[in-house]
Amino acid sequence: MIMTLAVMSFLIFLLVEIMPGDAAQTVLGQSATPESLAALRESMGLDDPMPIRYGRWAGAFIHGDLGESLYMRGVQINTVFWRKVGHSVILALTALVFYVPLSLFLGVLAGVRAGKLTDSIISFFGLATMALPEFVSGIILITIFAIKIPLLPITSIIPIGETLWGNLNILVLPALSITLVMFGYVSRMQRSSMITVMNSDYIRAAVLKGMPRGYVIFRHALKNALLPTITIIGMNMGWLFGGLIVVETLFGFPGLGSLTLSAIKTRDVPLLEASVLFITFIFVVSTFITDMMYAFLNPRIRFKGGDV
């Protein structure tokens, strides 16, 4: 994992290096004189050869210093970055709170009623929303809940001087846009694992023993049917952060996604490094935790050492 992050951070430096344009150019614009460009480059430390700059950056990074932003002069990335990450994490958690219960419930419902009308409706809805990019579902939600019925704000900007906590209503539409996309994946998984479990021998035995259907579904079937779904939810965590970029851009939400996008456009290497490495880190860690969770929740794997 450390290896992955190290390779990635180097590639970002390299990529910015070989492409035309740098932060000094974006700060001063197209009409900058060569002298002022050279002066600014010197003060930004862009004069040194790439390996030296990389070494300097990496050395500070290991000690938790993300460096100074190149575009926003004099701003320590540590001060901006974590606040934006906090916003994104809150948005991601809100989305999780929305979509996990919803898709589990509808997935179980579709699985239990497999082949019936309820199932067809849920499955088609899931397939359709899953296929849509986040910004398309976002636009549909905006049209319905912000324009036709003016309930929620069109943009999710936090007014200057206020915090996210005072403006929680701006979270709803972005979180719902993510919910629509994730709903398809999760409910689909839940449906198919529910069908597999419901057809197994021990469920048949429980039903034949005369247990109430609801009891069988919730006490017997659900326990096993949840496992694959938990994997899917965990695996999609990193992907959720990718989706956040799109949703944040659509709503103008001040989070990690919009920060990353502006870092790219301004060639702000330290800021870009921080953002991309953070997203990668989340992605890798969530995959790891998912594996752990899976083993923890499934005694068969825990005791036999993965031999299922």
Binding site: M1, M3, T4, V7, M8, I12, L15, V16, M19, P20, G21, F124, L127, A128, M130, A131, L132, P133, E134, F135, V136, I139, I140, I142, T143, I147, I154, G238, W239, F241, G242, G243, I245, V246, T249, L250, T260, L261, I264, K265, R267, L272, V276, I279, T280, F283, V284
Partner: protein, 276 residues
């Protein structure tokens, strides 16, 4: 082929998907010939006119450009890039996955390590960062970068498919006959893995459309004035209250195309399971 038609009769949704997909392909091929407007032509007297007014079927945007014409032209680039990326990433994935799985050992380990590194970033983030730094995306750069972002996933599918066939007798027979590795991989094994490979290509097609639309939306896709569906959504978002059609119709275009392709790819995977 016969089972395919039988299955089609049982899947009205798949038929719907295929019909919509062909409509878009037709629109991309011949639409621009039939249009009264060009995608960049500005009707200065009728900016933000609503759908149906002044001979603009779906209205115009803030610059007076015909939304319908821009959507029809936009279908060209998105279909071209999506088709090419799904083909390229599948071909590259098959080449890498097959070589890796077939020879095993050190080659396999090295390839898997590289794949792990690329797969550690979400594909959208990877494509966004690289395209953003490259600047001024073209159809060419878009195709290459999106293909690279998707190749590890296709390589894994191809490698898995190869490994499931590698132990079969016909592979040993070919080896004893003295066939070359290339022959065994692509003439003996490939036809037997074609099912999962075709499923992968069609699924990739749907993902590519989503990805390209998202990249356009993020402003790192094709550059203006080329019409791009994703870009149309973001550039008109600020006038959504006054002229919702400028945002809604491009969104609908993306929605109809991705849903159609998903229904189609869902159907293809059903056909492949059936053929087994």
């Amino acid at each position: 082929m016969k089972t395919m038609f039988l299955l089609l009769r049982k899947n009205p949704l798949a038929v719907l998907g295929i019909v919509i997909l062909f409509m878009w392909i037709f629109a991309a091929l011949f639409g621009p010939l039939l249009l009264p407007y060009n995608y960049s032509e500005m009707d200065m007297d009728h900016q933000m006119s609503s759908p149906g007014e002044y001979n603009h079927l779906l209205g115009t945007d803030a610059l007076g450009r015909d939304i319908f014409a821009r959507i029809i032209y936009g279908s060209r680039s998105i279909l071209t890039v999506a088709l090419m990326t799904s083909l390229f990433s599948s071909i590259a994935g098959i080449l890498i996955g097959f070589t890796s799985g077939y020879f095993g050992g050190l080659i396999d380990t090295v390839f898997l390590r590289i794949m792990d590194i690329v797969m550690a970033i979400p594909p959208l983030v990877l494509a966004m960062v690289v395209l953003g730094i490259l600047g001024d995306s073209t159809i060419f750069s878009l195709t290459i970068i999106v293909s690279i972002a998707y190749t590890p996933a296709t390589a894994r599918v191809a490698r898995g498919a190869l490994l499931s066939c590698k132990g079969n007798e016909y592979v040993d027979a070919a080896r004893i006959r003295g066939e070359s590795h290339f022959f065994i991989m692509f003439v003996e094994i490939l036809p037997n893995t074609i099912g999962p490979v075709i499923v992968e290509i069609t699924a990739r097609f749907a993902y590519s459309i989503m990805m390209i639309a998202s990249l356009g939306f993020l402003g790192v896709g094709l550059q203006p004035p080329t019409p791009d569906w994703g870009m149309m959504v973001i550039e008109n978002k600020s006038i959504i209250r006054a002229a919702s059609w400028t945002v809604l119709y491009p969104s609908m275009a993306i929605a109809s195309l991705v849903i159609a392709v998903s229904l189609f790819s869902d159907f293809i995977s059903k056909v492949m399971i059936h053929e087994k």
